[in-house]
Amino acid sequence: MSSSINNGISKYTSTITEKFGEHVESINEANRNEMHITLRQLDSAPRICEYIYSEFHGRLSTIVCSDERRVANGRFMLRYVFSMSDDGNDVFIVVTAKIDQHNSSFPSIALQIPAAFLYEREINDMFGLTPQGNPDVRPLVLHEDWPSGAFPLRKDFDISTKMPREHKEYRFTKVEGEGVCEIPVGPVHAGIIEPGHFRFSILGEHIVNLETRLFYTHKGIEKLAENRSLEETLLLAERISGDESVANSTAYCQAVEKIAQSSLPRRAEQLRVVYAEMERIYNHLGTLAGISTDVGYAYGSARLNILKERMMRLNETVTGSRLLFGVNRIGGVAVDVSDEVGKTFIEIMNDVQQDFEAVIALLKTKSSFIDRLRNTGVIPRKAAKELSIVGVAARCAGLDIDVRRDHSYAAYSGLRIDPHHDSPRSVTKYRIEMQKRVGDALSRFEVRVDEVKDSMNIIEKVLRNLSEGEIRATVPQENLKPYSHGLGYAESHRGETMHWLMLGENKNIFRYKVRTASFCNWPIIEQAVMNDIIPDFPLVNKSLDLSYSGNDL
């Protein structure tokens, strides 16, 4: 990993110093692509964040709060992470603000940066820090039965505390007007799916408003990780969401590797790409099958599910796990792919690809199928941008966001189409394609189909050019200093996954913040179903493929 000066960072540094010099305590660069701006005063955070958001076009990637009262002179720390990817820059701007421990509130940025809404509510729940100026501070993570005054992510909260249950009421937005009624759906659903509550306000079939309520199965992963060893936490990371095991473990491992400044063998990086794409393929196939089920087209879903099953069996043959558990290790990967396995892999995959293309061709000529998808659940591009949604959901609305390229990791560099490296002709074509996407379920369907084919090509390309050598490097332990921190990220099949890690004493975890793609994307469903009809909701939901488990950490 090179430690050369990142050009992007220096550009931002100068502007920030110029504009906000008096508010900034320090600006420093860390972990190759992180630019840390530490503020003198908490009050200046909104201004500087908004500046980065509106002038630099930074995308709010996550907000990390941590209780560092015992470490940094008794303070809560707020870190606003912005992802910068314009002009081919690979930079994360981290705005760090300190909250005095006597102060139990911080200024909200949610009205300026809509994406901050959920983060601020989460912080309000978990740390007891109130976002001043945020009109909605209803509990998000902790439900009505959680007693007030208990903040689980504060360091003085013991994880084994037994909490008494209370009974309060959660207030949903009420739509005024005669004839409007509500449909409460969930948390228990008719199918075998995870819990989540949807509150529709409807007029007949017409959806007037939708509010989601999640976090029914909050697992407390961030709290569980505290004081655990790095290896133990890897197991935890893999289990955040069963179908995103590779993405999450990759992101976690990369965070650790970044802090340790370790570099990986080429073969390990390539294999990480292979596993990540394998995960993407079987999940996209599952989602496509789900879309087909939800429009009532059983034949299509049966055929796609068969393909998904074949891919999952292939996962098992190659890695020993259908869900690709245990493939990543800190410093590399745990499972190697021999040449022989690689060959059969490609063979089977090509076979699947042929079948896949046949099914898709069938689906695309089925007008009853296409008619259901077209113009259903349209994600407005503006909303997608303002709510900082990621992954397929963003790409289907024409937002070109892909962590694999924007903040290229593992062996992804050069594998994705990149406006700054590829030929102008192909880039123009790619951009036109992007602009044409209208954000409906059909776009999502098509984007997923493209990505499946794409992933298959990537795997084939990587496997054919697999470097020789080790699959795991030793991590330089001396670099794992107490209270050093770093960002890890990966593009799961749902989108950008962010892991922020801060080490404590004894190379244990001090604070582990996970933000999956689902957390970012859940709010968009409330926008996507607007003006749609009720029977199309399951389809919209499925086409967005949001995870409950990945959200309810």
């Binding site: 000529t365 007008s367 296409i370 077209r374 113009n375 349209v378 044409k436 059909l442």
Partner: protein, 227 residues
């Protein structure tokens, strides 16, 4: 009420009914691919009808016309259209929002059929069996084709109306004259073929030019949205 001792199967009326059904199959489709497929069936029915006319009149030329119909209209024209339009995006090939909803246009088409029968009732040469059976059908085809053309917004889908009209004309001519001279027929077929190709090519151009679709416009277009 049909007397139970009716004569043998009335092949003429039934074939005209089948042709009618096939035509409805074309009218109610929204997607380009769907109506093309339905158009193929309609043409097959038409060529069957032509063969029946040939059998009834015993003019061998009409058999050739039937075969030509089958080959050119059921095979060549669909292929040409498919090829020419293959690069078109789905948007340009799918009738999202006709001026009159599909449900109403189905019923209007039925009314047009009734009108066609009503008009041809007055035609004096009803003694001619073939004409009696097919004249109203061909007139219906004309009406329905025109209505379809009027009703569609997507340029490519207006061709469907043209093709229906053309089939109606063909039936009209065949039924009325019991087979025009073969040469003329071949000429007509080639004419149509060229027409279709030109219009399809034109459509492709047009939709390329207007391909930048506005999302907001699309939202308004969907016909099952209120407001």
């Amino acid at each position: 009420m049909i007397p139970t001792d009716a004569p043998q199967i009335d092949i003429l009326t039934i074939s005209s009914a089948v042709l009618m059904i096939a035509t409805f199959g074309v009218v109610v489709r929204r997607g380009f691919m769907d109506w093309l497929r339905a158009y193929r069936y309609q043409t097959m029915a038409l060529s069957g009808v032509t063969a029946i006319i040939a059998y009834m009149t015993g003019i061998w030329e009409i058999y050739i016309a039937a075969a030509l119909t089958l080959i050119i209209k059921a095979v060549v024209i669909p292929r040409v259209l498919l090829r020419v339009t293959s690069q078109l995006k789905f948007v340009a090939r799918y009738e999202l929002n006709p001026y009159i909803s599909v449900r109403l246009s189905a019923i209007i088409s039925a009314l047009l059929v009734a009108l066609a029968y009503f008009l041809t009732q007055q035609v004096p040469f009803r003694s001619d069996q073939i004409l009696r059976a097919y004249l109203p059908v061909s007139l219906s085809l004309l009406f329905i084709g025109m209505f379809t053309m009027v009703n569609r917004r997507v340029a490519l889908n207006q061709i469907v109306g043209l093709l229906i009209i053309e089939n109606g004309l063909f039936l009209f001519a065949t039924a009325l004259t019991h087979g025009v001279s073969l040469i003329i027929e071949i000429g007509v077929f080639i004419d149509i073929l060229v027409g279709v190709i030109i219009s399809a090519a034109l459509m492709t151009r047009i939709s390329h030019t207007f391909d930048n679709l506005n999302v907001d416009n699309l939202e308004h277009l969907r016909d099952d949205k209120e407001e």
